[in-house]
Amino acid sequence: MDNTLALIIVSAIGIFLGYNYYARRVDRDIIQSNPNKATPARMYMDGVDFVPTNRNVLFGYHFKSIAAAGPIVGAVTAGAIWGWVPAILWLILGVIFMGWASDYSAIVVSVRNDGNSLSATAHRLIAPRTRQVLLLFIFFYLLLVAGAFANLIATVLNDPRVPLGILALAVLGLVGGQMLYRMRTDLLVVTAVTVGGTLLCVLLNADATGPVAGVWKGFNGALNSLAPNGVTSVLDPTRAADQQNVAVSVSFLFWLLALFVFCYLGAVLPIWRFAQPVNYIGFWITAVTLILGGLGAFLAFFVRPDVSAFKLAGFYGFSGNPSFYAAGALQPLWPMLFVTIACGAISGWHALIGSVGTARQIENEQDMLPVGGGAMFTEHTLGVLSLLAIATAANPAGAYFVKFAEGIGGFLNVFGIPAAYGTGIGFAAFVVIVITVIQLVFRIMRVTLSEGLGERNPIFRNIHFGTLISMLATFVLVISGTWVYIWQLFGASNQLMAALSLLVVTVWLAATRRNPTYAAIPAVFMYVTTMAATLVTAYNLYATVFIKQLGQPGHEIAVIGSLLTIAIAIILFIAAVFIGIDGMRAYQRYRETPLEQVPAPGAARA
């Protein structure tokens, strides 16, 4: 069982059974998708928001919208904490029983409610304040994802094998926007220039002993000579006892600021000028990594059994990797596994995108399942591939993303690419995928700030002020040090959004007299699980990060950062309590007095 091919087969069987024998049944018997029913895209076609779109095109669009760094980082982190067995079980069972249901149902509810977004439906069906709570969730979700990712990326950029590809990404992103929208160059040419150029720079920098990496090594060394003992200190309780006091180096700080400059461009420039072309290049890099890595993982079993065999432990125990409980942290399998892997199994963000964008382009009700559910099942494969990468990494010790890069390097080695080179490519691909996400995060954060606080104080409507405030908050989170906890809290906020979306779906199903079980059980499970995970993470931050650094000279920023994260955990918990109470009341209300009558099962298919 502990080889790449076996896991690929198990995952493929899971997808086949889940899609054909569960998802299709729900679509047919409960939702009763009807090809003769006019969808909002057909009723309100305006050529802008409501556009009937071919099923395959929309499937590609929706998949591209949801597939990025989330499934990679989650699967890699969970594999390292609990082993690959619990991670793959949750990935498969999560997507079969919950993930597709959340994505698909959000689209269904929007399609059946005139293309209204999930928050508008929640406002109407549950309570007016649900919309505000959703906005709050979105802001903290973004802050946490920015904190977790920025820490990772600054660390990886500090590696001399990476920076050139990212510089190329920034420059070619600007060039791509100019070529497409100003010079009206053919998309194929733009793709060849921007994606080809970025890949070329990634390859030039991939060799750790090469001249380009040597230049970056010298540059980092010169920076660090300014303050050999670092700028400030943080405590990382997940490291070995004698290595927990980590100095924040000047070069780390430099690359963190460089990352913020990159993201600033993405946040304040018009979307077509920078963020969109950068995201486009990022998608190609993701796709190339996914396809080549997936093929390599599949072929490795036949041609390179040494690469295909797992080196990672199958199961570390219910309390997780020993380094965590040695530090005094709690990492119980339940609930923490279920928030560590969010995307790839179930994600609330997908539901939000689906209800705002994709649902308004559904041409035929029978496209809802292949687009919403199908894209989620496909995204799940990205999580499985990431898990395979970390499970087969040659060096079981080391940072999670290092192991991911090594795993990808191993898969590329199947095609004859030297392992060291392949690992460099894996590193750079990882950064490109994540950095395209962060720039968008800051962009949406400033919009959320503007929407939430703009009416109280007009300064929040200023795009520069909103972006800088978001970056400052992120900076404090990053300097708090322990990104795993921030990642888990991000997962909890994401999964709470999934629970909220499933709750809206459950209430809608009850209100329209349909059987709500397929959405209600995952909603309750995710709600209880994520509430518990929020509390556990708050405890971990308090016991292993905050209290141990309180009063220590040089650790002041880390103390503020951990305090901020604990406060976010508490706010999320309280917000979730309000949602739970309102949701229960709404469910009771609509069970007693449904909104409308629906035809008997089967009648709609006549």
């Binding site: 309100y44 076609m45 305006d46 050529g47 802008v48 928001d49 556009v51 779109t53 071919n54 395959n56 095109v57 929309l58 499937f59 590609g60 669009y61 929706h62 998949f63 591209k64 919208s65 949801i66 597939a67 990025a68 760094a69 989330g70 209204n116 977004s117 999930l118 928050s119 508008a120 906005l135 979105i138 994802v145 497409l180 929208y181 998309l187 793709t191 979307i271 077509w272 969109q276 995201n279 486009y280 990022g282 998608f283 190609w284 796709a287 963000w349 939000l352 995108i353 705002v356 964008g357 395209t436 996400v437 968008l440 995060v441 962009r443 949406i444 919009v447 959320t448 929407e451 939430g452």
Partner: protein
């Protein structure tokens, strides 16, 4: 038969790839055009949705050309919106 099935698969793959790559730019272009049209129609017939804009006299000559699009335009600008809806293109890939 096999060839036809292969052709259908190749076409589906082409459509999928277009959806994952170029379609976003097509939508962005449509949205830019939609925003400009919004402004234009505001100037011509803004008063029909309660915006107190006094159109210039010559705008009246354009009214016959925009009458057909008015119901769609009204629905588009008066529709309830999600706070992040206009940033939908930014939401991708998180």
């Amino acid at each position: 038969m096999a060839l036809a099935r292969f052709a259908a698969f190749a076409e589906a793959l082409r459509q999928f790839l277009y959806g994952a790559t170029g379609y976003e730019f097509e939508r962005q272009a449509a949205r830019l055009r939609g925003d400009l049209e919004n402004l234009f129609l505001f100037m011509i017939v803004g008063d029909t949705i309660g915006v107190p804009i006094l159109p210039p006299y010559y705008a009246l000559r354009l009214v016959p050309y925009v009458v057909e699009t008015l119901p769609y335009w009204k629905r588009r600008v008066l529709r309830e919106r999600h706070p992040l809806e206009h940033e939908e293109f930014d939401l991708h890939g998180i």
